[in-house]
Symmetry: C2
Subunit: 287 residues, 2 copies
C-alpha cells in the first residue's frame, strides 16, 4: 500500500471531482488506484472524463473494496450511505465525508460503522456556485482549510485523514463537530439563507424586470452570490444543521432590529458600520 | 462653451475623482476646464494629484462660477450644500449629485435652487469598497448605469445631464426619484445593512479569533463585501432612505421567517432555493 492505498470517491460533483483530480495530479502519487462511484450514471461518466479517477465502478458494492472511502455527496446522502453500507465496511477502512454539517454525519458514523472502521467527519472549505464534474478544479483545494471532526480520541484514524488532507494540498483544522456546526451556521449556512431571501425581494417578471436588471449592480451580485449554489446540497446542509442555524438566525434578526432602530441617526449608524468594516477587515482582509 | 463648459466636482472621494478623471480623459474634451473642491484640504490635494481636475479651488464660493456642478459627496452633505449655497447658484447652471438616495436630494433641490437653475438628481451605479481619490478609476463609469431623477418635466436640464452622462461613458436611465429609492432600498441599501449584521455575528476578539479567521471562506467574504464600504457614505444614504429601507427590511424578515419554517423540510427548501437561484441567474447572470 502506497500511502493511502486504493481510494474511492463517492460523488462526481464539484468537490468529489476536485478531490479525485488533486489525488491524480499529486506528485507523490499517494493513491495506488483511484475509483469513482456516483449513483447518476451520466455524472459518473463525466467525472471519469474530467480526470477525477482511474476508473468508475459499475456497482455501488464495489466501493467497499477501497482502503479509503471519500463521501463527497450532500449531507443527507452521506447519512443515507452510512445507513445502507456502513455495517459492511471492512475494518481499517478510512471513511471520510466532505459535507458542510458535521454533527449529523459523526452521529451516523458512530451508529452505522462497525468496530475497527476508521470514520471521521471532513469538510473542505472550498467550492463555489459551479456544479457537477465540469466545475471540479484541484486548485481550489490547494491551501484551503479542510476541517476534520473526529468521532473520538483516535490517533490512527486522524493520522490517516491528515495524510489524505496533505495529499490534497489542503490545511487541516481538527475541530469538535458541534463547534464546527455552530461556526458554520454563522459563517456559511445563514449567509446562504440570507442571499436567497434577498433575491426573493426582487419582483418576479413583469413590466419592470428590465428596469430591475439595469439597477442591480455589483453590490447586489456579491451579496447574493451564494444563492447561485446547488440548491439540493444547500438544502441538505441547512436541514442537517437546523438547530445552530435557527440560533444564528435569531441573533441576526436581533441585530437587524437594532440597526432598524438606528437608521435615522446617521452618526451612531456610521459608528456601528465602521466597527463592522473594521471587524471584517480584521477577519478576512480588505477584499 | 465647449459642450459642458466649466465643470466643478465637489468631493474628491472615489466617485468624484472617477468623474473628474473620466472627463479629463474623454477624447471629445467636453469640459472647458475641470475644477475640484473638497472641504478636506488633504483629500482635495490628493484628488488633484490623482488627475481628477485641472486645478483645485481655494474657497468653496468659487464652486459657484462653474457651468456644471457635480456634488459627489454623501447624501446628507448634498442636502447641506444645497441649503448653504443653493440660493446663490446662477441661472442656467446644471447641478447634479451622485448620491444613492434621490428623494431627499430632489426635495432639497426644489427647495433651495433658484429659478432658472437646472437641478437634477444623479446616481452612477458603480463604485466599490475603495475610499478616497486613490480609489478613483474612470473605467468604473464606462458602461455603468447612471440614473437621472428629474425634478420636473424639463427637457433642457435633462439634455445637459445626458451630455454629462455620455461624456462619462455611462448609460443613462431616467427614473422617478421615489421609484429609484424603492428599488435601491432592495438592491443596495438593505444588502449593506445585512452585510454589516452578518459581520456582527462573528465574536469579537477572544481566544477563538484565529479559528474563526480560518473558517471564514469565500462565501462569507462575498456575502459581507458591502460591509467594507465607506461607513459615513452608507449611513448617509441609509438614513436618507429610511422609509423604503424599513419597508424592504420588513419584507426581508418575513421571507426569513418563511425560510426558517421550511428549514427542516429539505425538499421544499430545495425547491425554494432553486427558484431563487434561477431568479438570480435571470437577473444578474451566472456570476
Amino acid at each position: 500500500m502506497n500511502g493511502l492505498g486504493v481510494v474511492c470517491v463517492v460523488g462526481a460533483g464539484q468537490i468529489g471531482t476536485s478531490i479525485g483530480m488533486a489525488l491524480k495530479g499529486s506528485a507523490t502519487a499517494m493513491a495506488d488506484e483511484l475509483l469513482l462511484w456516483d449513483v447518476d450514471q451520466g455524472r459518473r461518466a463525466r467525472g471519469l472524463v474530467r480526470g477525477g479517477a482511474d476508473r468508475s465502478l459499475l456497482d455501488p458494492e464495489e466501493v467497499l473494496a477501497a482502503d479509503v472511502i471519500v463521501l463527497a455527496i450532500p449531507v443527507s446522502e452521506v447519512v443515507g450511505w452510512l445507513r445502507t453500507w456502513g455495517g459492511q465496511v471492512s475494518p481499517d477502512t478510512l471513511v471520510v465525508d466532505t459535507g458542510s454539517a458535521k454533527q449529523a454525519v459523526v452521529a451516523a458514523m458512530r451508529s452505522h460503522l462497525g468496530p475497527g472502521v476508521h470514520g471521521i467527519g471532513g469538510h473542505p472549505l472550498c467550492g463555489n456556485e459551479g456544479r457537477g464534474p465540469e466545475a471540479g478544479d484541484p486548485a481550489m483545494l490547494k491551501g484551503a482549510v479542510f476541517v476534520l471532526t473526529p468521532l473520538a480520541d483516535d490517533p490512527p484514524t486522524l493520522e490517516r485523514a491528515l495524510a489524505l488532507v496533505g495529499a490534497l494540498g489542503s490545511q487541516p483544522v481538527v475541530l469538535d463537530a458541534g463547534r464546527h456546526d455552530e461556526i458554520l451556521a454563522v459563517s456559511s449556512h445563514l449567509p446562504h439563507l440570507v442571499a436567497a431571501a434577498l433575491v426573493e425581494l426582487v419582483p418576479e417578471g413583469g413590466a419592470e424586470r428590465e428596469l430591475w436588471r439595469r439597477l442591480l449592480g455589483p453590490g447586489f451580485r456579491s451579496a447574493t452570490r451564494l444563492a447561485a449554489s446547488d440548491p439540493e446540497m444547500v438544502a441538505s446542509f441547512l436541514a442537517a444543521n437546523s438547530g445552530p442555524l435557527r440560533h444564528a438566525l435569531g441573533e441576526f434578526e436581533h441585530g437587524l432590529r437594532e440597526f432598524e432602530a438606528e437608521v435615522t441617526s446617521p452618526s451612531s449608524l456610521a459608528s456601528r458600520l465602521e466597527r463592522a468594516a473594521n471587524r471584517r477587515a480584521d477577519l478576512v482582509g480588505d477584499c
